[in-house]
Structure formats: structure tokens, C-alpha cells
Amino acid sequence: MSKILIQVNRPAYGYANSYQALDFAKAAVEQGHEIIKVFFYQDGVLSTSSLNSPASDEFHLTKAWADFGIANNVPLVNCVSAALRRGVLSEIEARENQQQHWNLTAPFVMGGLGELVTGIEQADRVISF
């Protein structure tokens, strides 16, 4: 059984990468592997925005990621600088930047790129989508 880190580099909508990453994560957990962290980098941070609002008959990828993280106790970490540049802010960054709104909520959290590196160090395998 492996410890796996998943890096997501594409948004929730417009590319299939993030969906495929989630599918991979679910399959890995089912087979007994451990997902130690999902790290959202580049446009991947757009996969985590709570303002993503697909039509009611469409798959809600951001919610599915959140459900997966909670159900399997997997940290879902955004690169904070990649996120801020793309307008993804948690309540803390919204306050710091004098913004009235924020769109990152639990279980997603902000972290530094260092969290990706330390995750890579701990992981047996790193998979990027």
C-alpha cells in the first residue's frame, strides 16, 4: 500500500483533469492506499472555489472534492499565492486584502508551496493532474 500525494493543476470546469484526479483518489482509497494530501496548484485552485455553481443536474466537482476530503480525512490544500492571484480567498485573506467576500471554505484550506514539497517528501508516489 502506498502513500500518495495528488497535485491538481486544472480548474473544476473546462478541463477533465480535476475530475480525473478525484476519480483516481477514490479508486486509490478503495484499494487501500492512503491519500496523504491533495494539493491544488496553478489553475487547480479554481477547483476549490465555493462559488463554483454548476446547474442542478450537473456534477458538482468542488462539493465532491469536499465530500471526499471529509469522508477520508484527506487534507485539501490550496497554494495560497496561486489562489490569491486567481481570486480564490479564504475569510482570512479577504480581511487582509480588504475584500468583502471570500470563496474558500472548509474543508479546503490555504497552505504554502512548502506543503507540496513536504508532502512530496512523505509520499511514496506523486501524481499530477
Partner: protein, 118 residues
């Protein structure tokens, strides 16, 4: 500590891949990983001097490539095939890079614990 190889495969402008790859490279090195970088395909264009990203509203991250050696990233390689296809040589690059054949790149990738492609 892991051996991490970072591949730059996109042109420096028009998309943020190279800038974010560079951020990741420097960060990894500052976290004491053994980092090497390889420029392939359009990624070799990151190595050309006299670029002015501010003219297209971008931060000049290109000059930050000079910091690779400051972060002890000494293994800086470029794909010879990609260079030649653009009529370039390592002499055209503004930082010290070593050209590798496809076979040499393959060997490098085999040796890495992790390969991240940006």
C-alpha cells in the same frame, strides 16, 4: 530529502506554467530537496535573454532564473533536440545550461524520485 526533477515545457508568456514551475523549483530547493530542472519543447524559450514581460502586463520572472544557482540548483539542463529545432544553441541562453540528448534526458528522469511537469 528527495531528488526532484522539474520539467519546463511551455513558453514563458501566454500562460503561467513556467513562472509557477520556477516558484516550485526554488521552493523545493529551499526545503533541502535535490532539484534539477530540464527545459524541453517551447520551455527552452525561457532561456532567451532580453525579454520584457512587463510589456504584456507580467512580472519579470525571467530574470529570477538567475537565482537557480543561488538556491544551489546546479543541474540545469536543456533538451538539445528542442534547442536545435528552434535554431538555438546553449550560447543563446542567458544562464549556464547543459544540453542533453533525448537518451541522456531519459537517464536523468529514471534517476529522479519525482518528476513534475509544468
Amino acid at each position: 530529502m528527495k531528488t526532484i526533477t522539474i520539467i519546463f515545457r511551455h513558453s514563458p508568456h501566454g500562460k503561467a506554467n513556467s513562472r509557477e514551475a520556477l516558484d516550485f523549483a526554488l521552493l523545493s530547493a529551499s526545503f533541502e530537496q535535490i532539484v534539477s530542472v530540464i527545459f524541453v519543447d517551447d520551455g527552452v524559450l525561457n532561456l532567451l535573454p532580453n525579454q520584457m514581460p512587463s510589456k504584456i502586463g507580467c512580472r519579470d520572472f525571467i530574470s529570477t532564473f538567475k537565482a537557480l544557482s543561488l538556491y544551489d540548483i546546479e543541474d540545469v539542463f536543456v533538451c538539445e533536440t528542442s534547442l536545435v529545432s528552434m535554431g538555438l544553441t546553449t550560447q543563446d541562453c542567458f544562464i549556464d545550461v547543459e544540453a542533453l540528448s533525448n537518451e541522456q534526458i531519459k537517464q536523468r528522469l529514471k534517476k529522479a524520485d519525482e518528476v513534475l511537469v509544468y
